[in-house]
Structure formats: C-alpha cells, structure tokens
C-alpha cells in the first residue's frame, strides 16, 4: 500500500535529495511535494488543482517557505480539526531554540534538523521512515485509500 507523504519544501535540491533518500529507504513511499505554504494548504484541503489529492499519512514541513511561512502552515494544520491528526514532522535547516520551541508549542509532532552531510541526511530520512512509517501507529484514513 502506498504511503502518502507530503513534503513541503521550497528548495528543489532538497526535494530531490529527499526523494532520493526515500527511494533508498522505502519504495512504497509516495512523495508529494508542495513548494510553498499556500500550495501545501491547497493540497491538504483538496483545493484548486489538488482536487483529487490524497490525504497524506505524514507531512514533512520545512519552516522557511516563501509566501506562507512553515510556522503558519503548521498552525493552520493543527488548527484544522480535519487535518490536525496528520503527524506533521518539521524538517528544516534551522536548529534555533526559538524555532524548536515554537514548533512544539504549535503541536508539531516532531522537529528534525536537516543535517549538512548527505549521508547523515540519508540516515535521517531512513530513521523517519523507520520510525514513523514502520513503527508508529498512524491514524487511519477516513476514506478508503
């Protein structure tokens, strides 16, 4: 069964890396990409071109996004009764205290800092896959996948 993962990331380089990393980790993962906050919300709400978008099992969210900042996206997700049960993992370059705290306050499920080294990055994605997509119990979809 395909695992739907929404990656909200504006850096195409990082997108590709993530894709590569997931490819190496778990081929069942279906990685969707939104390159800014507005697009992400549209995807989640099945608006516009995302009318038939699947509901993700996991959201990987970068904080530094154009248009709508990742923090705002997080707040919106967690403020939406419909969306707040989707585990949202912050995956961002910043390891600033204030970002970490803010994210947890906004009820991000987890905060991860993107490593600078490629291999570390790959390992991280593996861990994400290992933990979240294998071990953790995710809430079932409302509608049949």
């Amino acid at each position: 069964m395909a695992i739907e993962v929404l990656l909200v990331e504006d850096s195409p380089g990082d997108v590709r890396l993530t894709q590569e990393a997931f490819r190496g980790a778990n081929t069942s993962v279906h990685l969707h990409v939104a390159s800014d906050g507005v697009d992400a919300m549209a995807f989640l709400r099945h608006e516009g071109s995302h009318g038939s978008a699947p509901r993700p099992d996991l959201i990987l969210l970068d904080l530094n996004l154009p248009k709508m900042d990742g923090r705002e996206v997080l707040a919106k997700i967690k403020g939406d009764d419909n969306l707040k049960t989707i585990p949202t993992v912050i995956l961002t370059t910043s390891d600033a205290e204030v970002d970490i705290v803010k994210s947890y306050q906004l009820q991000a499920n987890c905060y991860l800092s993107k490593p600078v080294q490629l291999d570390e990055f790959e390992t991280l994605v593996k861990s994400i896959n290992d933990f979240w997509l294998t071990k953790v119990k995710l809430p079932q979809q409302k509608s049949c996948a």
């Binding site: 850096s11 380089g13 890396l17 370059t93 600078v116 080294q117 490629l118 291999d119 990055f121």
Partner: protein, 962 residues
C-alpha cells in the same frame, strides 16, 4: 436737645463776634469822620480862595480909585493909598496863588492876572505921572482913553471865572463827600445790624441752654421731691444715705420709726451710733463700709440699737453710691426690723425647707426649735417628734456641748468659734443606726435670743471614699517600699512625708531622720523651688510643668557627699492635699559615661577633621551638627554656613528621609537599616551644581542622642567611568550580537548552497563513480572534498562564534562530569586509537557546562589525534592556584609543539600540519582559547617537539565552596 457746643463756648463765640462787630463799626466810623472832616476842609478852602480873590479884586479896584483920586485932587494921600493897594494886591495875589497851588486850571489864570495887574499899574503910574507933571486934563484924558477900564473889566472877568471855578469844584467835592458819607452810613448801618443780630443769636442760644438746664434742674428737683415723698411714705423700712465716712445725709420716716431718731436729730451724725457698743468697739461699722465699698453691696442681719437704747435684730442692706466716673459718693442703707416682720420669718422657713441638706435650728438650751424635711428624712423622724427635743437625741455627742456658754466664754463667743467650720460628728437615726455627719453652724438672731442653725450633711459616702483612699495610700506605701528607685513623697510645704528603703540607702539616713524634714536637706537646690506656688502659678500648675520630665539635680548624702541624681515627679492626691512623689535615680554612672562620651567626642572630632573623605554628622532632626574640612571643600561652604542647617540643603533627597523615624520604625531601626551600605545619592554644592556621591553611614551615640555620621565620597569620576564602561559593554554586546547574527546568518545561509554542492557532488560520485573517466572521478572527488571542507569550516566558524553568543551563565559545574561527557563524545576516537585517558579528581568550577565539555573534548581529542604511532596517553589533572582558582592540565605523549608556534596555534584556522597528515580545520584551539577567556582564565601550552605537550588552563572555583 442736643447742643453741639458747650454753653460757655457759645457765650465766648457770641461775645467774640460782638466785639468784632464793634471794632469794624469803629473803623468805619473813623473813616466816615475822616471823610467829613476832609469835606469841611475843602469848603473852608474854597471860601478862603473866594475871599482872597475878592480881596485881590478889591485891592485892584482900590488901586484904580486911588489913582483916579489923585488925578482928581492931586492929594498925596491918594498916592499912599495907591501904593498900599499895589502892595496889597501883590500880597493877595501871592496868597491866592498859594491857595490854588494844587489846581493847575486855576493856576493858569494867575499869569493873566499878573499881566493885567502889571498893565493897570503901568497905566496908573502913567496917569499919575501925567498929573504930576502935566496936570489934570492930561491925566483925565489918559484915563478916558478907556484902556484902564477895559483892563479892569478883564481883570474882573478873570476873577469871576476863578471864583466860578472854585464854586464848581466845591459843589463837586461836596457831592463826593456826600456820597462817601452815604456809603459809610450804609456800611455802618449794616455792621450795626450784623452785630446786633449776632448778639441776639448768642443771647438766644445762651438763653435756651440755661432754660434747658433750668428744666433739667427742675425735673431733678421734681424727682427728688417724689423720691423724698416715697421715702417718707415708707414707714416699714429705714432708708437713708450716708457720705463715704458714714455721716448721715438723709433720713426717712421709716428710719425715724424704726430707729427712733428724727431727721433733725440724726442728720450729720455717724451711722455707727446704731450699732451695739461691742460692735462699735470691734470696728464693725467701718468694716461694713469697707466691705460695701469693695463689693458694691452688702447684706447682713445684725443687732441695731434704737434711740431709747433697746436692741433689735435688723436685716440691713448697704449699697455703695458711685458717680458716673466711678468715684465713691456715699452709701445708702436700707433696713428693716426683723422682729416685726412675719414675712421674713416665713421666708426663712421657706429657705430652710428648700435646703438640700438637713437643717436644724437649736436654741441655747440645746432644744430643736426648727427643722426641715431633709432632716426628717435623714434622721427618720417626723417633725413633731423632734421639735422641742434635745438635739442630743439625734447628735449624741459633740454638738450641744459646743454651744453651752460656760465660765470661760459666752454663748456668743462659743458660737463664734464654731461658726463655719465643718465639724465631723456622728448622727443617730430613729432606728438607732449611726451615720457620719458633718455639721456647719451659723447663728441666727431672733427675738428669743441667739439660735444656732446647723446644716447637717451625711458624709457616709465621703467617709467611705476616705477609707478607700486610706487603703490606697496603704497600698501605695507598699509600692513605694518595693520600688527599685529611691522614692520620696513631699508635701506642699517642701517637707518629706514619706520615703522608701531605697531612699534611706541612697541618702544614708534612717527613715525617721528624714520624715518631716525639709527636702532641701537631701536635695539642696532645684526641687523645692519647682513646687512652690508663687504669684505666677498655683501649685497645680507648678507641678504640671514638672511632671514626667527627668530633672537633673544634686543629691546630698548624710555624710555630706554629693552625687548627681535625676528626679521624675508625679502628683499624688491625698487627704492632705496634692503631694509630689519623686523617683530619685543615682546617675553618677551615667554622668561618668557622659563625661567619657564627651571625651570620646573630642577625640572623634579630631578623627573627623583628619578624615580624607568629607564627613558630616547629622542629628535626628536632620540638621548638621558637625563637619570636617573636606566637607567644606567638597560642598564649597564655610563651616559656619552649614552647621545647624538641614542636611537636605546639601543632599536634597535620599538622606534625611532614611533617618526619620516614622510610625513604622524608630530612629534606631531606620538607622540600622542604612548602616554600612554604600548609598548612591546626588549632592548639591553651594553654587547649586550637583554631583553624584556615595554615602556610608554609621551611628554615633552622643549626649544629644543618636547621631549619624555620613562619609561622603564624590563618585563623579567613578560614575563617569561606570557610565563609560556601561557604554563600552553595550557596544561590545551589540557588536557581539552583530557578530553572532552575522556568524549565524553566514553559516546558515552559506550552509544551504554548500549543502547542495556537497550532497550532489557526493551523489554524483556515488552514482557515476566508474561510469565516467578517471579524470571525472578525480574532479568530482576534489569537488566533493572542497565542499565538505567548506562545510566543516563554516560549522567550525559557527561553533567559534557561538562560544560568545550562545554562551550561558557561569554556574557551579562539576568539571569531573564535564570531562566524563567529553570522553563519551570522544568514545569513537578513543576506541579507535586505543587511547588511555586518565584523570585526577577534578573540582567544581564556575563554568558553562556545554562549553566546558567542548573544551575538554577539543583538548583531549587533540591529544589523541596528534600522535605518531603507539598508544596515546592522556592525563587530565587540576591543581589549586591560590585562593579560589584551579589550573587544569591536559598532558599527552603526542608529537609535541615547537615553541615557535606556541602563540600561533591558538589562532583561527592555524594548522601546523598538512591536511593529509591530520584532518581538522585549525579552529579547535581557538575555540578552546575563547572558551577559557570567556571563563575569565587563560590557556597556555608547554611542549617540546617529540616530547608531548601539556596544555594548561585556569578556571575559577565557586566562592561559596572552599
């Protein structure tokens, strides 16, 4: 009617104006007379002139006729007449000329007359000569020529004119004079009328006044008459008036009837003759007058003597008579015979009944003749049960005896001795119970002789109170004895009535040696005086002023030695009156202390002057009591300008307030809170400029109470330095922050593209290794390598900047634990190299834990890394370095370092080895240095190439732990 002026003024005024008027009239009359006499003169003058003019004419005519006569007769006698006429006419002419000298009009005629006269004489002479010489006919011819006649007629004409002129003038003058006379007359009449009028007015006013006076006198006389009639009408009462000496001035019918004297017999005599002889001897009449004069009115009931010598009891009222100025003019007496008056008796009975106290009237036999309802109540008897009974029945003892006349004194004398005094006796009720009473006696003269009125007051309550008081006194005495201080009770006479055992000891006397003695014996000065009521204040006032205050005096022991004491006074009410209790404390010790204190103060003053800081001593009122020369300089005042001034003048805020006792705390507490602490305030110089100061306060006990010594330090420089420092710190902080931000941004933003480069080159290398040619492989590997190094450099740079920006507070940290953590972090390389890492017990230090771990990690990591072959050995130890500091040592057996590079290695990105030899960015030691310096220490290295290295760094321990 109101008279504005007093009568005599009016009269004066009247007379004055009359006289004035007379004077004026006189002057005017005089003037009139002058005028009329003048006009008389003029009339006379005119007549004179006329007369002489006629004479002149006559003489000329005479001349003519005598000349003609001669001509006719030739007789010599006519020539004589002729010559006489000429001289006469000359004379007359001269007279006339003199007379009219003031009249120029008339004077003009004179030369004409002269000419005419001369011509006539000439003619006449010619004619005469002719006659003499020629004869008659020639002369007659000459005459008949007629010129002579014509000249005569001219002459006559001139004379006539002159006469007319004179007449005219006369009329004019007459009219003038008449007019002036009329005027004068008019004024005269007016003046006379005015004078008359004033005289009449004055006379009328005077008349009116005197008629008023007469009227007043009349009415006075009338009222006097009426009064006299009234007086005379009164027969029941004697009413008469005396002069201040008591001589009788008036008498009425009543007086005649009561006293028996007629008016003629008694007026002029002294009223003392009405008094019984014994009273006269005693000077009672004079006394009565004196009393009356003093109080204005005096009433009494006493015996009087009639003309026939019989005595009677009279009720007499004397009144002092004063005039409007308050001077005593005499007395009036109003009296009546009591024995006649039923009314008075009844009135008396009424008074008796109404009296609040029990009243009993007793006769000389000791029997009750009269009593009131209160007496009935008090004694529990009915009136008729008591009247006629012996007074002994209700007052068993003490009363009756007092009244009995015996061989030694008359009843009157006995009575006199008892009058007024409150006598304490026992009263007995009907039911036999006794109760304490106080009786006040007063005599009552009656037809039956002298009775005694006794006012009886039930004093059971008062007796109770007295008993209670006595009890209290007893208790008080007990307290007195027990008091720790010497206590002495003194009466108003300054005598000791009570003292306690402490007093005995203090003064070295036995109790009975002091009781009854003057206080002055033990306190020579200062006490007794304070208590005496003098003209200025009563006892109570005197006492009130002294109560409570601790007064310092000198006490004198029995042996004559003196010692300083402090007394505290308090009043004590007792049956004997107000007494004064004095608590006497021996203050010799205190006095010594005070002397000592004064000495210390002296020394203190010396110290104060010598102090390098400005010193100011302030009292509890916030006033400066002492200052030193430094203070003068600091504040720019002279000493005397500051002494006694409020300290607020030089330290406007913050000082005085700190010292003031308020409802919350006493001065001592306030002070205690401030002592020692360096308080920063603002001070003001004399010129008004302000400067920052630091105050250090300390208390100073003195005889004036607790004073505060303030050491004042000018901290302007310090403040400036502090401000400077603050500024610098701020700048530093800011630049640090900027740096941190920069470092963060730099690394963060640089990381991103770098990550891309590094990651993709790695992916490239991974995926396409072997698929491209070896050059490509090499190129890619260089690229990958470069990117990786770049990443590491940036990370290290970030780490370096974070030492400052992410540094945390230095807290008590276990360097032992930090070291252990560092080892855990180095686990990998430790295992890999097989290094042996040992350590000595490491102390607790003030540090940022994370950074301390980093420090150990870097140093130990380096120690392990920079090795040849073999087992790396690393030893970490710490040694105390004076007081609270620790020198840590990280010793290794590694490559060692050439002393040339001891400084350089701590620089940024400084490496001593090629990249191929040892990896690393060269920032590790720079980070270590930054960390150590941040902790207030320093780092150094001891090494020789090939002999390992020892890195040493200094850290401070926690002050609180030893």
């Amino acid at each position: 009617m109101k008279n504005k002026f007093p009568l005599d003024r009016k009269i004066k005024l009247a007379f004055g104006s009359a006289i004035l008027t007379l004077l004026v009239v006189g002057v005017i009359s005089h003037h009139a007379m002058a005028v009329s006499s003048e006009s008389d003169r003029w009339v006379r003058h005119t007549h004179e002139v006329l007369e002489h003019l006629e004479d002149l004419l006559g003489s000329m005519q005479g001349l003519e006729s005598s000349a003609r006569g001669f001509v006719l007769t030739g007789k010599e006698s006519y020539l004589e007449t002729y010559r006489a006429s000429i001289s006469r006419s000359e004379q007359e002419k001269t007279i006339v000329a003199n007379l009219i000298v003031d009249n120029p009009t008339q004077q003009r005629e004179i030369p004409i007359l002269e000419r005419l006269a001369a011509r006539k004489i000439q003619l006449a002479d010619t004619v005469i000569t002719l006659r003499k010489t020629t004869g008659l006919e020639a002369a007659v011819d000459a005459i008949q020529n007629g010129e002579g006649q014509r000249i005569m007629e001219d002459y006559r004409e001139v004379i006539r004119e002159m006469e007319d002129e004179e007449q005219r003038l006369l009329v004019l003058r007459d009219a003038n004079a008449k007019r002036r006379l009329d005027q004068t007359r008019g004024v005269l009449i007016l003046g006379t009328l005015l004078g008359l009028f004033v005289a009449v007015a004055a006379g009328w006013t005077v008349q009116r006044d005197s008629s008023q006076r007469l009227f007043a006198e009349e009415s006075l006389r009338e009222s006097e008459e009426r009064y006299r009639m009234l007086l005379d009408g009164v027969e029941d009462y004697a009413i008469y008036v005396m002069d201040p000496q008591g001589q009788i001035l008036s008498w009425n019918a009543g007086a005649e009837r009561i006293k028996g004297y007629s008016a003629e017999e008694i007026i002029g005599h002294n009223f003392s003759c009405f008094f019984p002889p014994e009273d006269i001897e005693r000077g009672r009449p004079e006394e009565v007058l004196r009393i009356t004069a003093a109080s204005g009115r005096h009433e009494e009931q006493s015996m009087r003597v009639r003309k026939d010598g019989s005595q009677f009891l009279a009720s007499v009222t004397f009144t002092a008579l004063r005039d409007s100025a308050g001077n005593l003019r005499g007395f009036s007496e109003f009296s009546h015979d009591l024995s006649e008056s039923e009314e008075s008796g009844a009135k008396y009975r009424g008074l008796l009944e109404a009296a609040p106290d029990a009243m009993v009237v007793v006769n000389q036999a000791g029997e009750i003749v009269l009593l009131n309802v209160q007496a009935e109540k008090q004694f529990g008897y009915r009136r008729d049960e008591l009247v006629g009974q012996k007074v002994k029945n209700i007052i068993p003892e003490g009363f009756a005896e007092r009244l009995i006349a015996d061989e030694t004194r008359t009843a009157a004398e006995a009575l006199a001795q008892q009058i007024g005094t409150g006598i304490e006796l026992i009263g007995r009720r009907k039911d036999g119970s006794d109760f304490p009473i106080e009786i006040m006696l007063s005599p009552l003269e009656s037809a039956e002789g002298i009775l005694v009125t006794a006012a009886i007051r039930n004093i059971s309550v008062r007796k109770e109170a007295e008993k209670h008081l006595a009890q209290m006194e007893g208790r008080y005495r007990g307290l007195l004895e027990a008091a720790p201080d010497a206590m002495v009770v003194v009466n108003q006479g300054g005598e000791i009535v009570l003292l306690n055992v402490q007093a005995e000891k203090k003064f070295g006397y036995h109790r009975d040696e002091l009781v009854g003695q003057k206080l002055k014996n033990i306190i020579p000065e200062g006490f007794a005086e304070r208590l005496i009521a003098d003209a200025l204040r009563s006892d109570e006032d005197a006492l009130a002023q002294q109560i409570g205050t601790g007064i310092e005096l000198i006490g004198r022991r029995k042996d004559g030695s003196d010692f300083p004491i402090e007394i505290m006074l308090s009043p004590l009410e007792s049956a004997e009156g107000v007494l004064v209790t004095a608590a006497i404390r021996d203050i010799s010790v205190r006095k010594e202390a005070e002397k000592h204190l004064a000495q210390m103060e002296g020394r203190y003053r010396g110290l104060l002057e010598a102090a390098p800081d400005a010193m100011v001593v302030v009292n509890q009122g916030g006033e400066i009591v002492l200052l030193n020369v430094q203070a003068e300089k600091q504040f720019g005042y002279r000493r005397d300008e500051l002494l006694g001034q409020k300290v607020k003048n030089i330290i406007p805020e913050g000082f005085a307030e700190r010292l003031v006792a308020d409802a919350l705390r006493s001065v001592e507490d306030a002070l205690a809170q401030q002592i020692g602490t360096g308080i920063e305030l603002t001070a003001r110089r004399k010129d008004g400029s302000e400067f920052p100061i630091e105050l250090m306060l300390s208390p100073l006990k003195s005889s004036e109470g607790t004073l505060v010594t303030a050491a004042i330090r000018d901290i302007a420089t310090r403040k400036k330095a502090e401000a400077n420092l603050l500024q610098k710190v701020e700048e530093l902080n800011r630049s640090n922050e900027e740096l941190g931000q920069f470092a963060y941004i730099a690394s963060h933003d640089l990381q991103e593209p770098l990550r891309m480069v590094a990651s993709y080159t790695q992916l490239l290398s991974r995926r396409y290794k072997g698929k491209l040619d070896s050059d490509a492989d090499e190129f890619i590997s260089f690229a990958v390598d470069g990117a990786s190094r770049m990443q590491r450099l940036i990370q290290d740079l970030l780490a370096y900047s974070r030492v400052g920006t992410k540094g945390r507070e230095l807290l008590d940290t276990s360097s032992e634990e930090a070291f252990q953590q560092a080892l855990i972090n180095l686990r990998g390389s430790v295992q890999q190299s097989g290094a042996l890492v040992t350590h000595d017990p490491l102390p607790a230090v003030l540090a940022d834990e994370t950074q301390l771990i980093q420090l150990f990690q870097n140093l130990v990591g380096n120690a392990i890394k920079y090795q040849k072959s073999g087992i790396p050995r690393v030893h970490v130890s710490a040694a105390r370095n004076g007081g609270n500091k620790w020198t840590f040592s990280v010793q290794d057996n590694g490559l060692g370092i050439d002393p040339l590079y001891f400084e350089r290695i701590f620089g940024m990105f400084q490496r001593l080895h090629k990249r191929e030899e040892f990896e690393g960015t060269g920032i590790g030691l720079a980070i270590c240095k930054k960390i150590v310096e941040r902790h207030g220490g320093n780092i150094s290295v001891e090494s020789q190439p090939g002999q390992g290295s020892t890195f040493r760094f200094l850290l401070a321990g926690n002050e609180k732990k030893s």
